[in-house]
């Protein structure tokens, strides 16, 4: 990995102040609104988790999904500017280009997590250090499909289309995944939710109850989404950068 190149990519991202404040600010404001009004709920919707903890993970998943997909928006903007042609006539391998984009998305996701973890702790969320780490680990793994989705959308969509696509997509995935309320343990929402990676992101909060965070079904769903989206992303990348 070219460290200098990655450093400049990160620098560019955090310098974009509006993007930084909006992508960190929205999940925080939402969290303060929903968790603030139900601070004392000990078992939110039979999830077994307190409202501050449940919503903390729920909004981390919302914010981190957006952060990962925002690397797609950056790819799309570079394509529109013609910068991708300039990059292609440098020795930077395509792999390293994509890796820098994914790592930038992960950095933004980690910032969102940090902000919400602090807010959660202030709301009374208290977990042993090991549980915090385990939860963070599950969230990072759970973001793999979204890293691939960001690359896919970035090479597929124009700058004009990618904003609405990301906004709508994240809102829908967050809703069906249980960001705003716990998904009931039966019925249509349950069936649909369990097939979505966003559902399992939210479920990462269950590490607080002890035992496995996801179970085999969760790992399987994540693995399938990761493989499928990564393949589609590579195909979109290759087609977009093929010599014509």
């Amino acid at each position: 990995m070219n460290a200098a190149y990655l450093r400049f990519e990160l620098l560019r991202t955090v310098r974009n102040r509006r993007f930084l404040f909006l992508s960190l600010g929205f999940p925080l404001v939402f969290y303060l609104l929903v968790a603030g009004s139900s601070r004392n709920v000990k078992d939110l919707g039979d999830s077994g988790l307190s409202a501050p903890l449940y919503y903390m993970v729920g909004l981390v998943s919302f914010g981190a999904m957006s952060a990962m997909l925002s690397s797609g928006a950056r790819i799309s903007a570079e394509r529109q500017a013609g910068w991708h042609r300039q990059v292609r006539i440098t020795p930077l391998p395509p792999r390293a280009y994509l890796r820098a984009k994914v790592l930038t998305g992960y950095l933004m996701a980690l910032l969102t997590m940090a902000v919400l973890f602090v807010a959660g702790a202030a709301m009374g969320v208290s977990l042993p250090a090991g549980r915090w780490l385990e939860m963070t680990g599950l969230l990072l793994v759970g973001l793999v499909p979204f890293a691939a989705l960001g690359i896919l959308l970035g090479h597929l969509l124009s700058v004009e289309a990618i904003g609405p696509a990301m906004g709508g997509g994240v809102a829908l995935l967050a809703f069906l995944g249980g960001t705003w309320f716990p998904i009931p343990d039966h019925g249509a929402l349950h069936v649909v939710g369990q097939l979505l990676p966003s559902y399992w992101l939210v479920q990462a909060g269950h590490v607080a109850l002890g035992g496995a965070g996801w179970g085999s079904r969760g790992w399987l769903v994540m693995a399938v989404w990761s493989v499928v989206l990564a393949r589609l992303a590579m195909r979109a990348f290759r087609r977009d950068t093929a010599r014509v």
Binding site: L11, R88, P91, L92
Partner: protein, 304 residues
């Protein structure tokens, strides 16, 4: 070291109006260390040729060899730096940072501060890329190509959007770089630039090479001037035979003489026809010169 070889290159694009034959079979050999101008009007196929040379486009037929390697291998080795015709800069970095970012991708880049100074960017090195003027942006794009310290520097219409002062500084830097033994290929549609800064000029029109030689030779071919004068009742044959005149045509009462040597032609014209009035002498323009060279009355894309 072997140089650059383009052999039988052909490229056709599909378009709603049917296929566009952008490049129709060209052969060029460039020795290492040469400075070559690719001269031609818009639509001549210069940018398509450059895309194939850089490995950005795949040739339908023919081969490209850059210092004995395929273009993409030469690019991967850091042997090629290029300033493309189109493309904006990425935002949220200052000029120095952007140049350093690109430098970090190459095995033996030039010093960033030296590159900034050479490109005339010292005064704006700390400015964000989104706040530059058109000419400054163009200079940053040059700096990005230069900082890679390539064996082959490719510049596609580099002086577009630069003011006169900027152009002069730009060409001085290009020459200093070429003097280090580097190979430089630049595309232009200005005969003056090709004449002043290239060792050799490759003249393209309608996807073909119509001439290839030293600048003086190319200048003789396309540097024609025209004399226009009101001169009724004189046969065109007599005018065409005047010294320095290559062809003559009539437009109403006026005649237009295309001249290889307009100085000789005007003296002869006034001696033979002292009644000639409203005389104008002007450059024939590349397009007109290309039409004569290619002998094609309806060229595709050469009318812009």
């Amino acid at each position: 070291m072997s140089g650059i070889e383009l052999r039988g290159l052909t490229k056709t694009f599909a378009s709603p109006e049917g296929p566009v034959h952008a490049v129709r079979g060209i052969d060029v050999s460039i020795a290492a260390g040469e400075t070559i101008a690719l001269l031609g009007p818009n639509g001549a196929g210069k940018s398509t040729t450059i895309d194939m040379l850089l490995g950005l486009a795949r040739a339908d037929a023919g081969t490209v060899s850059v210092f004995g390697r395929a273009p993409e291998d030469a690019v991967a080795a850091g042997a090629v730096g290029a300033m493309l015709q189109t493309g904006e800069l990425i935002r949220d970095l200052d000029v120095r940072e952007l140049v350093a970012m690109v430098a970090s991708l190459y095995p033996k880049p030039l010093d960033v501060e030296e590159t900034l100074a050479l490109s005339g960017l010292g005064a704006v090195a700390g400015r964000r890329t989104q706040k530059l003027s058109g000419g400054q942006t163009q200079r940053v794009r040059f700096a990005i190509a230069l900082v890679s310290n390539p064996e082959l520097l490719v510049l596609d219409e580099p002086t577009v959007a630069m003011d006169v002062e900027g152009r002069r500084g730009f060409w001085e830097t290009m020459r200093a770089f070429a003097a280090r033994g580097k190979t430089v290929l630049f595309a232009t549609h200005y005969l003056e630039e090709a004449d002043a800064y290239a060792d050799r000029v490759v003249l393209m029109a309608q996807g073909r090479i119509v001439a290839d030689g030293p600048p003086t030779e190319i200048k003789g071919l396309v540097g024609a001037r025209t004399i226009r004068a009101t001169l009724p009742d004189v046969p065109l044959d007599a005018l065409a035979e005047l010294p320095g005149v290559t062809s003559a045509e009539r437009r109403g009462e006026a005649v237009v003489l295309v001249c290889a040597d307009s100085d000789a032609a005007i003296r002869a014209l006034l001696a033979a026809h002292p009644d000639a009035r409203d005389i104008e002498i002007g450059g024939a323009g590349l397009e007109q010169a290309f039409l004569q060279l290619t002998g094609d009355a309806t060229p595709a894309g050469a009318t812009a």
